[in-house]
């Protein structure tokens, strides 16, 4: 495959708007973020302060807490969502009656706007009038305080994530239906049971899709912002129309994620230099997972 110069020039021409965009919205701000991280900046005064922002960030207990919360989402919420979606997709391949109705049913909640879904879940799980705890009480279980308790707040968000997993279910379902039938037939003749068929045929064939889903899931978990912010806000009853004070993380910082802490620091407290330190930490974390994904892509491209 020879590269021709003429084709290169044409590609450059066609890519130029996007290249300008990358320069303005990716390269420049990233470099600028590094610069600001060594400065104190509040929109009015800019002052070089060396490593003070970095030193402060690493002694900030809320940064540690927000980092641990984000880590919790990566370690528990993402695997829960992937496994759940895989289970549902597997079930959908087996259940024949009413399967298109079931598909629509499982997919629809993933379309509910994020804010609407979160507000609804805070209501459904509220301990006073919420239906979930009442239904639980019918069978003699005293439900927890869900979004009001530090221990249950993140599991509550995980429930919300499972409810909205329809997207992933559809992706897995397509992958599962793509597995060649004759492989299963051959395995069945050899006497392989359902579990062995799943482990030795299904998993290897769909593993690229699974991997892709897990990595993008992790990247979205690292960015997790809206659901946590809304849940804190609605459950605590606070507003955030500027001027009033709302500190994200209710209850007890249990829902404070790294992007929220950054937002609060930069755009509510206007400590923009410090926020840039948070931004670079967030960048480092997301880069690790992006590299995993990139490696996978180069492998797939090489294979095709």
């Amino acid at each position: 495959m020879a590269f021709t110069r003429r084709e290169g020039v044409r590609a450059l021409l066609w890519l130029s708007p996007w290249l300008v965009g990358i320069a303005i919205f990716f390269v420049y701000p990233l470099a600028s973020t590094v610069y600001f991280s060594f400065h104190r900046y509040d929109l009015f005064t800019l002052e070089f302060i060396g490593l003070d922002n970095w030193r402060y960030a690493f002694s900030d207990p809320r940064l540690l807490q927000s980092g641990l919360n984000t880590l919790w989402l990566v370690v528990f919420m993402v695997p829960a969502q992937v496994l759940f979606a895989l289970g549902v997709a597997q079930l959908l391949t087996k259940v024949k009656s009413g399967s298109s109705l079931l598909r629509t049913l499982f997919y629809l909640p993933s379309l509910v706007p994020t804010v609407a879904g979160t507000v609804a879940f805070v209501y459904l799980l509220n301990p006073a009038t919420g239906p979930v705890n009442q239904v639980l009480s019918w069978i003699g279980i005293t439900g927890p305080d869900w979004f009001g308790s530090a221990a249950w707040a993140k599991p509550s968000l995980t429930l919300l994530a499972l409810w909205g997993a329809g997207n992933t279910v559809m992706i897995f379902l397509a992958a599962l239906l793509d597995v060649p039938k004759h492989l299963y037939e051959a395995a069945a003749i050899d006497g392989a049971g359902a579990w062995r068929q799943f482990r030795d045929i299904t998993l290897p064939v769909i593993s690229p899709v699974l991997m892709f889903s897990a990595v993008t899931g992790v990247i979205y978990a690292v960015q997790y912002f809206t659901q946590a912010m809304i849940a804190s806000r609605v459950a605590s009853g606070a507003t955030d129309s500027a001027g009033t004070s709302f500190t994200p993380g209710y209850p007890d910082g249990a829902l404070l994620t790294l992007p929220q802490h950054l937002f609060q620091t930069g755009f509510r407290d206007w400590s923009m230099g410090l926020a840039c330190v948070h931004a670079l930490l967030l960048f480092a974390v997301s880069m690790v997972f992006t590299l995993v994904l990139l490696r996978q892509f180069s492998r797939a491209e090489a294979a095709s």
């Binding site: 706007p113 507000v119 009038t129 931004a279």
Partner: protein
Amino acid sequence: MRRRRGLVWIARHAIAIALSLMFLGPVVFIVLTALMTDEQALTSRLWPDQWNWGNFAEVFARSELLTWTANTFLYASLATIFMLMSSIPAAYALSRFRFRGSKVAFLVVISAMMLPPQVVAVPIYLVWARLGLTDSLWPLILPMLFGDAFSIFLLRQFLITIPRDYTDAARVDGCSDLRILLTIILPMARPAIAAVALFSFFYCWNDYYGPLLYAGVDQEGWTLSLGLATFKAFHSVQWNLTMAATLLVTAPVIVVFLFAQKVFIEGVTLTGVKG
């Protein structure tokens, strides 16, 4: 053997029914609550004593719901149109031309797609502030003129599946790139373009972080997400009104889905397959 298969069949269907109830349950309770009277919403009775359809009108009367809907619609449709104008040519170049650096360009697309928006928020905010465009939705719309990484990625994944022979033949006949794009690529890529447009529209419709950063304090300039997020705070004990508002925000999305179901499912599959 027969009996065992029967049991498996029953187990599967039982699980399917239980799951359906879990997926459907929240919606049922939301609808029931949205139709309760103010007094009943304070109690723990789950079935409405009387059906209070007026709640929906009440939401319109007590909030700027129509203004928010108009703002959200303007944001989502302009952003989507701009995105298509800028992303289709970029995806075309990435999928059709052989040039030094095409691999690197694709890796940059993926990196940009995976970059959390909060990472570069501070410098970009400062630029918009200097231009006097904060307190509006323009900082969310105008960048779409320069291409959106996720859309470029998806379009490119689809376009590489169109055999080169089609475009090579046209090139031999002396077709320009623009004509190839318009007359050959666009018609073939219609499902992918529709999917990308829908995703973009929905992303904007749902976006909370962007408007929270830029829309300002004046409710007149808010989007549905911003409005709904504060709705509960202003009507604190009235869960019935909050649920009615939630349904009103969700309804358009569901309606669009029912009309464009195929586009959605195809699009979703497109996001997952290549990897």
